[in-house]
Structure formats: structure tokens, C-alpha cells
């Protein structure tokens, strides 16, 4: 760049400023290099540690990586669809690998819902139901945590701490605990995901509440409205679109979360996926992955469309 020749011809003061600038940038560069070096050391150490404590070493396993990919190729392309729709397979030899019609869930007569669709519906229901529960409680808690609505520091602080704990508590522990009490089924997953959602949505909600325009609230206060009336008529109409948008965002996350919880023992499609990958059932695995991929893309698209309608492009500015 053409900026190198500017050094010459400075006045005395100018040269001093220039010198300071050089010193500052040199120091800054030093810090940058220092930070980078620390990062590289941490990364190297981490990689070494991960490799040491892994069951198979990275370099030993790498040549076999594609063996596994080879295991995941079905006998022919139609097998995936037969597995997906529970149609009988021509390769059926009585083993679990090809027993697709086994999982059919008959509704009326010979009309049936394929197993994977049923399980996918279960996972979706887990996600949606727990997002609804999370929204109801997060909604109620958020007003108690907002600085502009609750002056009492202790109430506000304790509600916030409570939501933080709900958010940080590992979902897998909640699922495991309720699995021990309620026995196998989707309900432990619902409870685990709901509890986490209350904390996560509550935080987003109260931050939205703190950013509202307080003029409407002041107007209602002036005519003597109670706290509940002020919240309901002044705050809620302002934040409702934001809340809906956060609800949809959370729904996307919860569809993924309930799949994972399912794999850990909470029922739904996740469990079937873990079993079929573990047993090397190529067509079944691909069918589930395909269904899951399509569902997640569909949920994301619908949610993005609704959010865009609700709050415009603002919903996409800070997706994090």
C-alpha cells in the first residue's frame, strides 16, 4: 500500500506522535502474537490429550474411516425407501436388518403409519410440547426478572439465579433422573427439555421486556392500573412478536435437543437412530437420517418464514 512514504517531513511534535503510534502498534502486535502462541499451545495440548484418551487413535483409525462409510451403503437405492415406508424387502432373511414391515403401526384395517414417521412425530411432539411448557413458565417468570417492572432487587435476583440454574443444569441428568422415577417413555425427555427451555426462554424474554418503551406503562400507571393490568396492557402487546419469535427459535433448537435426548433413552427417533447405527443397519440408518434431515430443514424453514412475518428482518440480525 502507498502509505509507507509518510514518515519523512514530520515536525518535532509529529515525530513524537508517530513514535508513540509505532510503540503502541508494536506492543499490540506483540500481544497478538502472544495470544496466538498461547492458543496454539492450548490447541496442541488439547489435541494430544483427546487423542491419548480416545478409544482408537486418530491416525490408526483414519484408514478405516471409509470402511465404516462402506458399511453404510445399502444393497440398492430403493432399500432406503422400503425402510422408510415399512415396505417388505426382497433381501428379507428373517434378521432385524431387513424386517421393515415389523414396525408398522396399524390405524384402521390395513392402513398403517410407518414406524419412523410415528417416532418422528413423537420427537416433534416432545419438542413442541416442551417448548409450550417452557414458554408458559418463562413468560410468567420473565416479568418478575425485569428491572423496569420489579424494583425489588431480591425478587429479581432470585428469579434470575433460578433461571440460570435451570438453564445450566445438564439436560441429560434431568432426563436420567426422571427416567429412574417415571420408567421408560418420552415423558422424562419432555420434562428435561421443558426445564431447560424455561431457563433459556425466560432469559431472552426478560431481556426483551427490559427493552420496551415504558411510555405506555406510564400512561396506565397514571390512570391507576394495577401491576398485572400494566403488564398485560402495556408490556405484553409490545413484546408479543418478539416472544413468538424466540419461541420459534427455541422450537428449532428443541427439535434437535429432543432427538439427542431420545438417543440417550428418552424414546423417539433418536433412540432408533442410535440402535440402527450401532447395529450397522445401512438402509434403516439412511432412512432415519433422511427423515430427520428433511424434518429439521422443514421446521427451520417454517420457523424462519413465520419469524420474518412476525418481526421482519430484525429476527435474523442476531441469530446467536
Amino acid at each position: 500500500m502507498a502509505m509507507t512514504t509518510l514518515h519523512d517531513g514530520f515536525s518535532e511534535k509529529g515525530a513524537l506522535i508517530e513514535q508513540h503510534f509505532q510503540e503502541l502498534s508494536a506492543r499490540r502486535r506483540l500481544y497478538t502474537w502472544f495470544g496466538l502462541a498461547a492458543l496454539v499451545v492450548a490447541l496442541g495440548g488439547s489435541l494430544w490429550f483427546a487423542n491419548e484418551t480416545n478409544a482408537g487413535k486418530f491416525l490408526d483409525r483414519l484408514p478405516h474411516f471409509f470402511d465404516f462409510v462402506g458399511d453404510m451403503v445399502p444393497r440398492d437405492g430403493w432399500e432406503v425407501f422400503r425402510a422408510l415406508f415399512d415396505l417388505p424387502s426382497p433381501y428379507d432373511d428373517g434378521s432385524f436388518k431387513y424386517d421393515y414391515p415389523e414396525g408398522r403401526l396399524y390405524v384402521i384395517g390395513s392402513l398403517y403409519v410407518p414406524e419412523y414417521f410415528h417416532k418422528m412425530l413423537e420427537t416433534l411432539n416432545i419438542a413442541f410440547f416442551s417448548t409450550v411448557i417452557g414458554m408458559v413458565f418463562g413468560f410468567l417468570l420473565s416479568f418478575l426478572a425485569a428491572k423496569n417492572l420489579v424494583a425489588n432487587r431480591i425478587v429479581r435476583g432470585s428469579v434470575r439465579r433460578f433461571m440460570e440454574v435451570l438453564r445450566a443444569f445438564p439436560e441429560v441428568v434431568l432426563a436420567g433422573f426422571f427416567l429412574a422415577i417415571l420408567s421408560i417413555g418420552p415423558l422424562p425427555a419432555v420434562i428435561a427439555v421443558s426445564i431447560h427451555t424455561v431457563g433459556a426462554l425466560g432469559k431472552l424474554f426478560f431481556e426483551a421486556v427490559e427493552n420496551v418503551d415504558m411510555k405506555a406503562e406510564e400512561g396506565l400507571r397514571a390512570v391507576g392500573a394495577s401491576w398485572v393490568e400494566r403488564v398485560w396492557f402495556a408490556i405484553v402487546p409490545q413484546v408479543a412478536p418478539n416472544f413468538m419469535s424466540y419461541f420459534l427459535l427455541r422450537l428449532e433448537i428443541n427439535v434437535r435437543a429432543s432427538t439427542i435426548i431420545g438417543a440417550v433413552g428418552g424414546g423417539g427417533i433418536g433412540e432408533l437412530l442410535r440402535l440402527s447405527i450401532g447395529q450397522g443397519h445401512a438402509a434403516k440408518t439412511l432412512a432415519i437420517v433422511l427423515l430427520l434431515l428433511l424434518t429439521i430443514v422443514a421446521v427451520d424453514q417454517v420457523s424462519a418464514w413465520l419469524r420474518r412475518r412476525l418481526v421482519g428482518d430484525q429476527a435474523f440480525r442476531s441469530a446467536a
Binding site: 500500500m1 410440547f129 415423558l187 419432555v190
Partner: protein
């Protein structure tokens, strides 16, 4: 709110018709949504069979499991033989260790002549090899009986328990005599006659005692202090103590059961317990390989979780960074490369972290490499999408400015684009680092390394809830610390105060 008078209302309605006469759809929107959600809840109630599941749930055990998080039980068991002799024992792996004689169990011993099957005596001496060394007398008695093992029975003098009194707290105690058990709790007294093969309460049962069938087992519960079962030939008491037992040293350690100051003085100035190494090394080794708490293993797994999140997110950021320049349509003016990279991001993101985790667990074997790769793949998609969106929203004037002085294309990106987006990029990567520390726990449970699997295994036993509590506390501490670090770094990067 005070009500309006009709004249005022009409006046307002005339001025603002839109406020009071909104379309039906708008007016009933909230009740409609609420009604729809209520219907959905009813549907879910049916779909998940919630009423049935809650009805059949074992709520009684929930309290015990929760109590196990922060307390432990010691289970003395008094066995009453038909000839009126008694024995006091503790199950294997009792937290007090073998040969414990706690001061809350009062024992009165005596000798009596017993006729016992010889085979049983021999079996008994085999059963407790550890006690041989410590109880020389008992061992030799067993030995003589075993020597006379050809006979069906053997008659000998034996030291037996005559009376045992187990004190659970200042107002609760259980006294066991060969034919009678007396339980005192909260000023009430329950006497149980256990002679003749049945357990019969003398008088009515107090509220804290339950007998399901006459003559059968009587269960007494003392709230937080514990509970017990009284049968004709066996009295089992479970006394609950608050806290985590044997947290530093397990029962096999020479330091077990010693108070902390004593351990400290042993470590600093005591005689060597193990002549081959110092007491400090021995104590440290005993802590790390504590059989109940498995500190070394837990810490290793926790570090794996942290490493998985760190490396996964860092690699994802490094790959998403260049790719996002290809995906942003204002930077790379090629529809093809925009679309290809964007669809790649979508694919990586939509194939769930779970699927990647399961795939890589098959490929690399269980361990942090699988979890790391899963996080790397998913987050390359997510970060790439966010980065390319950030790039598409930059202010174009800075690029034009740099371009106008004749800079090379790379320099245009370096000085015209990077300064605008770098803080945002770093901040988003930090946010994902933090959130991945949380999600790395859960994908661990499917075998992708880290503390998740250990946590899951501890929960499946249904008896190691204190270990679960310990790991949860460690995870919470790590999450809160990383939350703080990430928040502090992000607010510094973005130049606004931390919230």
C-alpha cells in the same frame, strides 16, 4: 381501572374507530391461540399417556434418590438365629469399611454354646478373609470347626451378640433383643415381639410404622434420619447421614476414617505408611484412585468435555471463516460458489449434532475425537451461516475507500472488511464455545467422549446419585466459569458492558 362513562366512550370511539372496532381475527387472536394451545396440551396428555405415567410413577423412590444426592446410608443388620443368638453385620462395600464399630451402635456380647452346621461355619470363614488377620480368635474358632467338618453339625462356645441398640438420633433408637424389638421415635414407643417366626406389634402401630400383612415385615420410617425393616429373624436399619462419605479416601486407603488434621500431620511429618513412597504421594494416589468417587477418571472426562468444545469450535471457526467469504454474495461475485457453500452450511447444520456424533463414534471409536468432530461439523455450518450473513450486512463504503487507493483484492478484504466483522466473528465463536461446553455433556452420553457417558452410567445404577451430584456440580462450575470468561471477552470485543 375506573370505568368510562358511555358518553366518553362514544366520543373516543368516534375519534379512534380502529382502536375499538378491530377486525374479528385480531380481536380474538389471543383467545384463539390460547384455546389452540389448550387443545394441544390435551392431545399431548393423551399422546404421551401422561396421566397413566404419572399414576404409575414410583414417587416414593424419588425422595430417596434426591436424598442420595447429598447424603448416604449406613446399614447395620441384626440377624437373629433360631437358638436366640444374634449377629450384627454390615453389607459389603459399607461406607464405614470392614470391621466398623460405630459409636451409635451399642452392642452387648456374651458367650453361649451353639450347635451350628459345620459347613456353614467353614463357609463363613471363607467369606470374610479380610477379618482373619484382625480377629485372630474368631478365625481360629472357625478353623477348628472346619477341621471337624466331616460331622453334619458342630457344638462349640461362641461369642454372640446378646443385645444391640442402634441410635439414629436423640429421640430415635431401635433396641434388638433375641425375642423382642423396641423402637422409640419422637416420644412414641413400638414394641415388636419377634419370637416364634412372626413379627407382632404389641399394641397399635404408630403412624410411622407400616405392616402390610399380619406377622410379616414391619417397615418403620424416621424421616431424614433413616428407616428400618423388622422381620422375625432379621432387623435391618438404614441410618442416613448428611454429606458425601469417603470423598477423599475410600475404605481401602490407610488414611480412611482419620480426621483431616491427623491426615495432614501424617502427610507432613508422619512415618512412612508405605516404605516405597512418601505419605504425600500415597495420599494423592489414594485420592486419585478413590474407588467410590473416581476423581482422576471424573476429572479426565471433564477435561475431555472442555477440550471437545474448545477444539471443535476453534476448528469450526477456522474453516467457516474462509468459506463464509465464498458464501457472501457481496464478496464473491459468483452465484455458483455462493450457493454451493451456503447449501454446504445448511447440510452441516441440519444433519444434527447427534447424527454426526453417532457417525464419528462408529468411525473413531468412543472418545473425545468423535465428539470433537461432531461439534466441528455442526458448528462449521452454523458459524458459516452466521458469518456469511454478517459479511453480507457490512458497510460497503470502507471497502470502496480501500479499493479507491488501488489496494490489491486481499488488502481490500483485510482493511475494508475484516475490521468491521472480526469482533462479531470472535464474539459469535466465543458464544458457541460456551454453549458447546454445555452440549458436549449430552452428546458424550451416546459415546462421543467426555463426562456425559460417565454421568449416564452413574445414573443407570440408581444408587450412585452422590456421584451424579458431584459431576453436576463440576459441570455447573465449568459452565459458569466459561460463561463469565466468554461474556467478559465478548463485551470487551463488542465494546459494550457485560449483561
Amino acid at each position: 381501572m375506573t370505568t368510562l362513562n358511555p358518553a366518553r366512550r362514544d366520543e373516543i370511539a368516534a375519534r379512534h374507530p380502529a382502536v375499538l372496532d378491530r377486525p374479528v381475527r385480531q380481536r380474538f387472536r389471543i383467545p384463539l391461540i390460547a384455546g389452540g394451545l389448550a387443545l394441544y396440551v390435551v392431545y399431548c396428555w393423551w399422546f404421551f399417556a401422561i396421566g397413566h405415567v404419572l399414576g404409575t410413577a414410583n414417587w416414593g423412590i424419588a425422595g430417596t434418590y434426591l436424598a442420595d444426592w447429598v447424603s448416604y446410608e449406613v446399614r447395620p443388620e441384626v440377624t437373629i438365629h433360631a437358638d436366640g443368638s444374634m449377629e450384627l453385620g454390615y453389607p459389603r462395600f459399607s461406607p464405614l469399611g470392614p470391621n466398623a464399630e460405630p459409636d451409635w451402635v451399642e452392642i452387648e456380647r456374651g458367650t453361649m454354646t451353639r450347635t451350628v452346621p459345620a459347613a456353614r461355619v467353614a463357609a463363613k470363614t471363607d467369606e470374610k478373609p479380610a477379618s482373619m488377620g484382625f480377629m485372630g480368635a474368631g478365625g481360629s474358632v472357625g478353623g477348628t470347626a472346619a477341621a471337624a467338618g466331616a460331622d453334619a453339625t458342630a457344638t462349640r462356645e461362641e461369642e454372640v451378640v446378646r443385645r444391640a441398640k442402634i441410635i439414629l438420633n436423640s429421640s430415635t433408637s431401635v433396641e434388638v433383643l433375641p425375642s423382642r424389638v423396641t423402637v422409640e421415635h419422637g416420644g412414641e414407643r413400638l414394641a415388636v415381639d419377634i419370637g416364634g417366626g412372626t413379627a407382632r406389634a404389641e399394641g397399635a402401630l404408630p403412624g410411622w410404622a407400616v405392616q402390610k400383612e399380619p406377622g410379616g415385615k414391619i417397615t418403620v420410617s424416621f424421616g431424614l434420619s433413616g428407616w428400618g425393616e423388622i422381620e422375625a429373624d432379621d432387623v435391618t436399619i438404614r441410618r442416613r447421614f448428611p454429606g458425601w462419605v469417603n470423598f477423599l479416601f475410600d475404605t481401602n486407603s490407610p488414611f480412611h476414617g482419620r480426621p483431616l488434621p491427623e491426615v495432614f500431620s501424617l502427610v507432613t511429618s508422619g512415618e512412612r505408611i508405605d516404605p516405597t513412597r512418601s505419605n504425600l504421594a500415597l495420599a494423592w494416589d489414594n485420592i486419585l484412585y478413590n474407588g467410590e468417587w473416581q476423581h482422576l477418571d471424573v476429572w479426565t472426562k471433564l477435561l475431555q468435555t472442555i477440550v471437545m468444545a474448545f477444539v471443535g469450535t476453534l476448528f469450526a471457526m477456522l474453516l467457516a471463516f474462509p468459506l463464509s467469504f465464498l458464501a457472501a454474495r457481496n464478496i464473491t461475485r459468483s452465484r455458483l460458489s455462493n450457493q454451493v457453500t451456503k447449501r454446504l452450511f445448511d447440510f452441516l447444520r441440519s444433519v444434527d449434532m447427534l447424527i454426526w456424533a453417532l457417525f464419528f463414534t462408529r468411525a473413531f471409536g468412543p472418545g473425545p475425537l468423535a465428539g470433537m468432530s461432531a461439534i466441528f461439523f455442526t458448528d462449521t455450518g452454523t458459524l458459516g451461516k452466521l458469518y456469511s450473513e454478517a459479511l453480507e450486512n457490512i458497510d460497503d463504503r470502507q471497502r470502496e475507500g480501500v479499493k479507491s487507493v488501488g489496494a490489491a483484492p486481499v488488502a481490500v478484504q483485510r482493511f475494508g472488511v475484516l475490521p468491521q466483522v472480526l469482533p462479531l466473528f470472535a464474539s459469535q465463536a466465543l458464544y458457541f464455545w460456551e454453549s458447546n461446553t454445555r452440549s458436549a455433556t449430552i452428546i458424550g452420553a451416546v459415546g462421543a467422549g467426555g463426562i456425559g457417558l460417565k454421568l449416564w452410567e452413574a445414573m443407570r445404577t440408581n444408587s450412585d446419585w452422590e456421584n451424579v451430584a458431584y459431576m453436576v456440580l463440576l459441570i455447573l462450575a465449568v459452565v459458569f466459569v466459561f460463561d463469565g470468561i466468554s461474556n467478559a471477552l465478548r463485551s470487551r470485543l463488542m465494546g459494550r458492558p457485560a449483561h
